[in-house]
Amino acid sequence: MSDIRIERLDAFRWIIPPTGGMRVPGIIYADERMMQAMGTDESPRQVANVAHLPGIIGHSLAMPDIHWGYGFPIGGVAAFDMDEGIISPGGVGYDINCGVRLMATNLQIGEIKGRLRELVIALFRKIPAGVGSESTCKLSVAEEKRVLRQGAVWAIDRGYGSDGDLPAIEDGGAMPGADPDCVSDRALERGRRQLGTLGSGNHFLELEVVEEIFDRRVASTFGLTAEGQVAVAIHTGSRGFGYQVCDDYLARMVKRSGALDFPLPDRQLACAYLASDEGKEYLAAMACAANYAWANRQILMHWTAQTLEKTLQRSPRDIGMRLVYDVCHNIAKVEEFEIEGRKTKVCVHRKGATRALPPRHPSLPDRYRESGQPVLIPGDMGTGSYVLAGTDKALEETFGSTCHGAGRVMSRSRALKASRNRSIAGEMADRGVIVLAAGKKTLSEEMPEAYKDIEGVVNVVHRAGLSTKVARLRAVGCIKG
């Protein structure tokens, strides 16, 4: 552990008491084994650094998939007062609205087992993936600005999916307040060519099968009705557009950090007051990137459905692909919480953390009113995903937030070394997962050992009560960038 003091609070919570300039304590959700495994990792120091920022409310929080990030740790959650607090591009991350969507189908694994390879190849051909991949859907700047304002609504208006998808997307697929005038020409230029692409790194599109159902009633509400049912998960974000928005605003805020009335413990924590013009402009540009990501995942979902229909020669009704939910896990959002007995609007940063709203929350669509929000947690390549449901406890303790995934434990070069003389694709095939990747090194860099154990992460949030396990899905086919 780094040089900061950490005390055990209860079975799954560890507190960093405030010292020096920390305005609030830090809290890390983890079990004992995870805390020990953290070793000399500096992420607890980063939790403490975030606690220095003005206007932070309650605690600087970290989920069990916490790992080192730039400035803010990945797995970090922090809420800020709208009048006295800040917003930080580094608290959102470069890939704004990186997220996951899950689609259920009427297919059973037995029906497609013999055609899996064919399906994965067809998806790999249809979905642009990998470094520098460009979309078949190139945009004029005027059209791109519509994407930025309307998000998934734009995509549906152009025939990608249907209106029924919108309630199953966080924020209805369009974050309010998006203003393309707050976005640089550079970001617009990068965004024009990448809408409808998967990207590279840890992004994927995966064919999955329901392996285990923990809560049958809630699973059925989510459209996951039985073991053996085929589903599709898409993990991607706002591509180069979001990166450029983050990069532009970080540079602006770093430049002006000397003018702030408080010291920054780390330059990458550069931020602006939410009430300042700069803070408002970042939020408006970030919303554009969030909307871009929702349009992106909406388009990819539509192409996936088309590919399944064409390859299997079955009708859309027959395949029955429907959106379970779409979550973002790199975002800052203005949300309302009850704080000290008063309803208060705050700006919640979730950097590698997922919103997890409880049953009966007003932001939920009718279909999930009684179940709570579906929370989608992707594992590492080819492992599959967990579906969880939001809880009241998350609303009380973590500003309605939970974990987001596995988190890396091995650097890319260590993974490359560890995979030398091995066929990762072959090993995945032995485990029953057909994987195709655009980049020759991607499979090695993304091999399962390079990531934390997703089960451990999910068990902590389940037992800590931040979200409850609903179903586990196993991967059977995967395309990577």
Binding site: Y70, G71, Y94, R190, Y243, V254, D266, R267, S411
Partner: protein, 147 residues
């Protein structure tokens, strides 16, 4: 123009890694040389620089509140040449640099499938832990990139 693609000795740099990121430590005989080597190191990591030809020139300016900020902002410009314009850097000449400003001329060419490869996709150059030090032997710099 004669192909100069075979004259690209690697600049002095070393890669150190964090779990999800790529750190680069660069050396230079003096401040200008450090900034030049940093630009070349970035290009070297991304592609086989020996296959890039210096057919076109780009002027680059960067500024910052201190040397580290100038270095990161300079490398952000180099990275944008690829990420935004699909343009690869072959060489770089620093015409002026002080603690707050930099002016440079880059030579290179547009990325071409078949001719060039993209070995490591650098997604961003971060300010996190950026550092420049001056020692008896020369200058060293450290930056962390998102990959």
């Amino acid at each position: 123009m004669k192909n100069d693609a075979d004259q690209a000795p690697s600049p002095p740099y070393r890669i150190f890694e964090h779990t999800a990121d790529l750190g680069v430590e660069i050396c230079g005989t003096d401040e200008r040389n450090l900034f030049r080597n940093a630009a070349l190191a970035l290009s070297d990591i991304m592609t086989d620089r020996s296959r890039v030809r210096g057919r076109e020139e780009r002027e680059i300016v960067a500024e910052g509140g201190d040397r580290e900020e100038v270095l990161v902002n300079f490398l952000r410009e180099i990275l944008y040449l690829y990420n935004g314009e699909g343009w690869l850097l072959k060489e770089c000449e620093i015409s002026a640099v002080d603690g707050f400003h930099l002016r440079a001329t880059a030579t290179g060419e547009p990325f071409a499938h078949g001719r060039h490869t993209m070995d490591v996709e650098i997604k961003a150059v971060t300010y996190h832990r950026a550092e420049i030090r001056r020692s008896g032997q020369g200058w060293t710099g450290r930056i962390i990139c998102d990959v």
